[in-house]
């Protein structure tokens, strides 16, 4: 995320864009998934999947339950190692990678079944997102003095900005285990944002929210994308959301790629309608 000069630039860019949505164009490829196949024993979760994510876009992944969407994200951030295929990220080619390495190259994510640190407060959860950016060594930390204290304050300030941004000031010190579901999702987003990622993977960020909250969440996602230029890959079942905010959509079904294209293309694809949408939206 931004240092001061960037923020200023981003803010001016965040002037409301008037509807109808202008077709956004992206050229640079951030991540490319090539011929990925992932198996668990007999279960084939993904079969020969290829697609790409351009820098700066909002990319949606949709598909029926069990289609392999979450598995796809797990492959991207290194939690699962695919049996076949490879991933090119920021121009670098890789096959297997540990999740913490993925994190240090700028990939952050949220989880379908909330994976917050239940015993910690909201603020501490968000601060964990800053771990990679913090430098002071263990002795300074033990003394809590000088550079360490300054560092703690700086990062705290950063996290406070995110807290303001996501409007969760009131629950700063509450242990997250006690928060209602929707707020937990928001805290999870905050934690991911604190990592200042280049690529943000969101797994059903709006599940279990009502319309109003979804609106808020969409707003946040769009703002992150606009203001900080973060590339976003998003899994979501609410077609309204997907169609409204994503630039391109990839559709998975039973581990295979069914379609790939702009929301409008996907919406009118008969295979997609049959397999997933049911009634057309």
């Amino acid at each position: 995320m931004p240092d001061a000069s960037q923020t200023a630039a981003a803010e001016s860019a965040a002037e409301p864009s008037a509807p109808p949505v202008p077709e956004r164009r992206f050229s640079e490829t951030l991540l490319e998934v090539k011929n990925i196949t992932l198996r668990f024993g007999g279960v084939k979760a993904l079969t020969d999947i290829s697609f790409d994510i351009k820098k700066g876009e909002i990319r949606a992944i949709i598909g029926p339950n069990g289609a392999g969407k979450s598995s796809m994200l797990n492959v991207i951030n290194g939690f699962y190692t695919p049996q076949e295929g490879a991933i090119t990220y920021k121009g670098r080619h890789r096959k297997a990678m540990r999740p913490h390495e993925a994190a240090s190259t700028g990939i952050a994510r949220t989880f379908q079944n909330i994976a917050l640190f239940k015993g910690m407060s909201t603020l501490d959860n968000i601060m964990t997102g800053r771990l990679l950016k913090m430098k002071s060594n263990i002795f300074l930390q033990a003394l809590y003095w000088g550079p360490n204290q300054r560092e703690e304050s700086e990062h705290r300030a950063f996290c406070e900005r995110i807290i303001d941004f996501l409007e969760i000031q009131a629950i700063r010190k509450t242990p997250v285990g006690r928060l209602p579901y929707g707020l937990q999702k928001r805290v999870e987003l905050a934690r991911a944002l604190a990592m200042e990622p280049d690529l943000l993977l969101l797994d059903e960020p709006m599940a279990g929210m009502n319309v109003e909250e979804k609106e808020d969440m969409c707003r946040f996602v769009l703002d992150v994308n606009d203001e900080f230029g973060t590339t976003i890959a998003l899994i979501e079942h609410d077609m309204g959301v997907v169609m409204d905010i994503s630039d391109r959509v990839v559709v998975l079904d039973y581990g295979r790629k069914l379609a790939d294209g702009t929301p409008d293309e996907v919406r009118s694809n008969q295979a997609v309608i049959d397999a997933y949408l049911g009634v057309s939206h």
């Binding site: 339950n65 009502n210 319309v211 909250e213 979804k214 049911g278």
Partner: protein
């Protein structure tokens, strides 16, 4: 409560005016951990054979209300400190969840809660625990669940811990159906399900409601669908019921339209157009 009751003549009772409601919750207060007051006087009634929706924002107390009914609160160090809950006129305070299931009240918990190490089929079978040795009946119902959710049949022998989110949700609902319930307390059944499946599940809910006479109390975020299938709705805010009424009336209400259905006067707005300055209006009480 300052908000006028929408249903002028207190709706749920008029259909079944003579009959006692199946379930009635009278002005309950719930406290967690002896200090956190979450429900501040919630009342609702569920008529026999009805589908009642419980709506409200995150943290409004929907889950808490359902758990209070099914007596699962104690396991979370919560307790009902005021008010009463009655099932067919009988207080349920001292019943264990097991008694309640035997009497036909079962809850589908939010966040799935499948038994990870059991296979999908074993998960379903645990739902039939209270039915004892009725093998043939259980087998029949198992088939019924598999017919409702064909995906589960495919995955029947995988450990539930390894199934996808949606599959787990189906397992959880199927598991509850296996107990042959009279009332199902459904906590966010649509969460994480593909749109097609959401419709399907609500169709199934409607079907069991109509065909088998199962009463449904439904906590939902997906107001749109919920109000389409429910006959009556309650809206919870901050641990209080702020509005209730027949589903169709609620759907017409301007506030509900704006805040729960995402419809403004001009129709559905794109999520792209929502502005920062738009702030929710809170019902004060």
């Amino acid at each position: 409560m300052s908000q006028p009751n929408l249903a002028a003549e207190s709706a749920p009772r008029d259909a079944t005016a003579t009959e006692r409601p199946l379930l009635s919750v009278n002005n309950i207060e719930v406290i967690y951990d002896h200090v956190i007051l979450v429900l501040k006087g919630v009342s609702l009634t569920v008529p026999k054979g009805g589908i009642v929706a419980l709506l409200g924002a995150n943290g409004a107390g929907k889950t808490t209300t359902l758990k209070a009914i099914s007596n699962l609160l104690r396991a979370e160090r919560g307790e009902v400190t005021k008010g009463s809950i009655e099932l067919e006129g009988e207080a349920v305070d001292n019943m264990t969840p097991n008694d309640l299931v035997k009497r036909g009240v079962i809850q589908v918990m939010e966040g799935r809660h499948c038994f990870e190490h059991l296979t999908v089929e074993e998960n379903l079978l645990t739902g039939a625990y209270t039915r004892g040795g009725d093998r043939a009946g259980i087998q029949r119902d198992l088939e019924m669940v598999y017919d409702y959710f064909p995906r589960l049949r495919e995955r029947r022998s995988s450990q539930a811990g390894y199934t996808s989110g949606g599959e787990q949700q189906m397992t959880a609902i199927g598991r509850a159906l296996m107990s042959r319930p009279k009332v199902v307390l459904l906590d966010e059944p649509s969460m994480g399900l593909a749109p097609q499946l959401v419709e399907q599940i609500f169709e199934i809910v409607k079907r069991i409601n109509e065909q088998e006479g199962v009463t449904i109390l439904l906590a939902e975020q997906n107001t749109n669908v919920a109000l389409r299938y429910a006959k009556y709705g309650y809206i919870l805010e901050n641990g209080r019921v702020v509005m209730d009424g027949p589903a169709d009336k609620l759907r017409e209400n301007e506030d509900v339209k704006e805040f729960y259905l995402g419809l403004s006067a001009t129709g559905r707005k794109s999520y792209r157009d929502v502005k920062h300055y738009k702030r929710r209006k809170r019902w004060l009480s």
